[in-house]
């Protein structure tokens, strides 16, 4: 147990660094989770239309059209400059910008035409542009229908009344309902949050365990231990046990923090233990991989670089930050040789598991693969350590 105790003695000097790392990560993810907490209402969350309208026509028709848009969407007031419009579209303050040119009203009323020129700019979210365009199309078509009702042109005396009729016809209600309640959609957020903890676990284990392990593997420390009569096998076992204990404590701490944010009542959901199980197996697999690479690394100065590259690379290619469907297939295939992608996929499966006839086969499979990876890397680490021991001897 001497190596076990020594590991924690060495680690004691890193406590401040561990807390600093943990603090930074926890603050970041707390912010994200709090911002995404679902509302208690049970209605379906639908992205609201946010439209900016620049009306150069200022006719009765264009004003009625703008009033209709205001009833069906949030009208955002914008300064009519390139920077203001681009910023608003980029930041999602507005999803659609409509420019009503001069002559719009006259063109709408023209018996020879069945539309009027309109210019629009959409944001990158094509879905929201389509939804906004539907609003515009609905208005134009209803307007054209009323024109036909009056034989092709709306009499001037009846324009106001007709515009009112159009607005009344367009006032409809479609009711929406969420398939899952607010509490149930919290589970989706829990799954997402577990994905974020994968990054924290990778970054912390590689940075903290790495630094301590390299100190322990310092030739002087190692020789002193061996001279004092501790067999190498016992020393290795002590170090592995210490890293495992530290990792488990860190993992438990993260899980407790996570549930304290989202509510411990989520533990009652029968999918929660599965998420915790996947997270645990992932932590063990990452620990084995980190142990292997740190055994190869030796240079303490390079640990922070290694930790940053390793954690970011693994997280970016495994769908922790970006949905897996955005990641190119060859990269996804390459990432399937790492445990994180399996953990992310397993979490997605758990969160989207049908309530009727759930099937956890894939989750078992993912956990099995992660365990095999852990075993493989543990064996590789032992081989490397044994070969080093021989070379020292």
């Amino acid at each position: 147990m001497r190596a076990f105790k020594l590991y924690f003695k060495v680690m004691r000097s890193s406590i401040a660094a561990i807390l600093t790392y943990l603090g930074i990560f926890v603050v970041i993810f707390n912010f994200i989770i709090q911002a995404q907490l679902p509302s208690e209402k049970e209605d379906l969350n639908i992205q609201e239309h946010k439209i900016a309208v620049f009306d150069a026509d200022q006719s009765t028709v264009s004003k009625a059209f703008t009033a209709y848009l205001a009833e069906h969407a949030e009208i955002v007031e914008l300064e009519d400059t390139e920077i203001a419009v681009n910023d608003a579209l980029f930041d999602g303050d507005v999803y659609y910008v409509i420019r009503i040119p001069q002559g719009f009203g006259a063109q709408m009323l023209d018996p020879e035409r069945n539309n009027a020129e309109l210019n629009a700019r959409g944001s990158i979210y094509v879905h929201l542009s389509i939804a906004s365009a539907q609003l515009v199309e609905s208005y134009n078509r209803t307007f054209q229908v009323y024109k036909q009702v009056f034989g092709g042109s709306i009499p001037e005396g009846q324009l106001e009344e007709t515009l009112d009729s159009i607005r009344t016809d367009l006032q409809v209600e479609v009711s929406t309902r969420a398939f899952q309640s607010g509490d149930a959609s919290k589970l989706g957020l829990l799954g997402l949050s577990f994905n974020y903890t994968f990054y924290i676990i990778i970054a912390l284990l590689s940075a903290v365990i790495g630094g301590t392990l390299i100190s322990m593997e310092n030739q002087a420390v190692k020789r002193r231990d061996l001279v004092s009569g501790i067999p190498e096998r016992q020393r290795t076992f002590g170090i592995f046990l210490a890293t495992l204990l530290f990792s488990v404590v860190l993992w438990i701490l993260l899980i407790v923090i996570l549930y304290s944010w989202l509510g411990f009542d989520l533990l009652n959901d029968n999918r929660s233990p599965w998420l915790i199980g996947v997270s645990f197996v992932h932590m063990v697999a990452i620990l084995a991989i980190v142990n292997f690479f740190i055994t190869l690394l030796r240079n303490k100065g390079s640990v922070s670089f290694f930790s940053t590259v390793f954690s970011l690379a693994l997280s970016f290619t495994s769908g922790v930050f970006v949905p897996l469907e955005f990641i190119q297939t060859p990269v996804r295939k390459l990432a399937s040789f790492t445990p994180t992608v399996w953990a992310v996929k397993a979490n997605e499966t758990i969160v989207n598991m049908p309530e009727q006839a759930p099937d956890y086969f894939f989750v078992w499979q993912a956990m099995g693969i992660m365990f095999l990876m852990a075993a493989a890397f543990l064996c590789l680490t032992l081989v490397v350590r044994r070969s080093r021991q021989r070379s020292v001897a």
């Binding site: 681009n86 969420a178 989706g188």
Partner: protein, 407 residues
């Protein structure tokens, strides 16, 4: 003396091969991995609209509603069949211009399809249309709700209009001629005359991840310089104690030490910029302005590191953690890991967004890419310069009043 310190600091940097390797290796590997992971986003296909899979329940619908809704379905969608092994709904015909793929089922089956994620939503046809869907999270189709809701509204609006026209005809307010029905149908199918630009093709918005990555890499030198202050404080490192034997002002010593780091990281960031270009990530044609911004960002990162290093007298462990963690946090808040975070921070903590140097570099690159004028760029350059000056002043404050006797 300045030249002497600069020369030997440069030699020390170059000859410390392990550190040099990681300094060069880290950004190259990070950029490569980032590119491999995110290059899928560069294809605008990711932002194209795919038809929404919907289950239609008509159990409570009246016959007239049913007929009207079927006509509407034919107009906006194509029928589909649930995929094998609980796969998503597959279109039976080419869904090229369709908004939805639909299947008509009973309520229980609709719930089962929704439960197994084979469809996005279930639509119940009745006096009032009802759509039921999962509150999807972290999914690329979470905006489907807006489109489906707008389509269903449109159906209800057409129904309303037809009913109004019917009433007008019944009351004698209008006298329909024989081809009235055809004219109305044509009017309902008329084109809105909408000229749209930028529907899902705004590369600048997709490139935000890469802008944030470059922003992060310009601030990353902080992780190196956060510890470099120890090298000029005689009570913190033996090398500094030895160098203090020479009577030379501390501030000059500091700048002589930092100059090689500035040069190294500036060159590195230029290499990264061209490397990204070689990978196919274009940042626009304003290379000169981009390089100035990157240099300014690099200087800011370097002096932020020295400011933290000189003001916080903690252990090297804490300083390293801050040096690594702060740029990461700033990158995160600028949208490097998820573009939505940037917006979230901008809305809820605008002050943090305004002073985040990674966000400033990110927005500077974005403005050069997207705007025809340089007004925003210069505004950002000024803000970043102010930040740089503050970092230098803080460094000087942290370093002052600790002079040591020299021989």
């Amino acid at each position: 003396m300045f030249k002497h310190i600069t020369k030997y600091k440069t030699l020390a940097l170059v000859k410390d091969q392990a550190s040099l390797f990681w300094t060069l290796f880290f950004p190259i590997v990070l950029v490569t991995v980032f590119y491999l992971a995110m290059s899928g986003l560069l294809s605008s296909d990711m932002y194209q609209f795919d038809p929404i899979a919907v289950a239609v329940v008509t159990e409570d619908a009246k016959q007239e509603d049913l007929e009207a809704f079927e006509t509407f379905l034919d107009y906006v969608g194509v029928p589909g069949t649930p995929g094998e092994d609980d796969g998503p709904l597959q279109a039976d015909a080419d869904p090229e211009d369709a908004y939805i793929i639909y299947t008509k089922v009973d309520p229980d089956e609709a719930r089962a399809l929704l439960d197994k994620n084979q469809i996005y939503a279930c639509v119940e046809v009745g006096e009032t249309m009802t759509m039921t869907a999962k509150n999807a999270r972290n999914s690329s189709n979470w905006r489907n709700g807006s489109v489906l809701h707008a389509l269903l509204e449109r159906y209800a609006q057409v129904k309303n209009t037809m009913s109004s026209i019917g009433k007008m005809a019944m009351t004698g307010a209008i006298r329909p001629d024989p081809d009235f029905g055809d004219k109305i149908r044509q009017a309902f199918e008329s084109d809105a005359g909408l000229q749209e630009e930028d529907r899902g093709t705004k590369q600048g918005d997709v490139l935000i991840y890469f802008f944030a990555l470059l922003g992060y890499l310009t601030i990353f030198p902080m992780s190196t310089t956060v510890l470099s202050v120890a090298e000029i404080e005689a009570n913190q490192s033996p090398r500094a104690a030895r160098s203090w034997l020479a009577p030379y002002p501390k501030w000059k010593r500091f700048f002589a030490e930092i100059l090689p780091v500035v040069v190294l990281y500036s060159i590195l960031n230029v290499i990264i910029y061209y490397y990204l270009g070689a990978l196919g990530v274009g940042f626009g044609s304003q290379t000169g302005y981009i390089l100035i911004l990157l240099l300014l960002g690099t200087l800011t990162g370097i002096f932020m590191g020295t400011a933290v290093g000189s003001l916080f007298k903690g252990t090297p462990g804490i300083k390293t953690a801050l040096g690594i963690g702060l740029p990461l946090a700033m990158g995160f808040f600028s949208g490097m890991m998820a573009a939505e975070i940037r917006k979230m921070i901008k809305d809820s903590v605008p002050f943090l967004h305004k002073i985040n140097p990674v966000a400033l570099v990110t927005e500077g690159l974005y403005s050069l890419y997207n705007y025809s004028t340089l007004d925003r760029y210069f505004e950002i350059v000024i803000r970043l310069s102010i930040f740089l000056v503050i970092a230098i002043v803080l460094t000087i404050i942290g370093l002052r009043r600790s002079n040591y006797e020299s021989l």
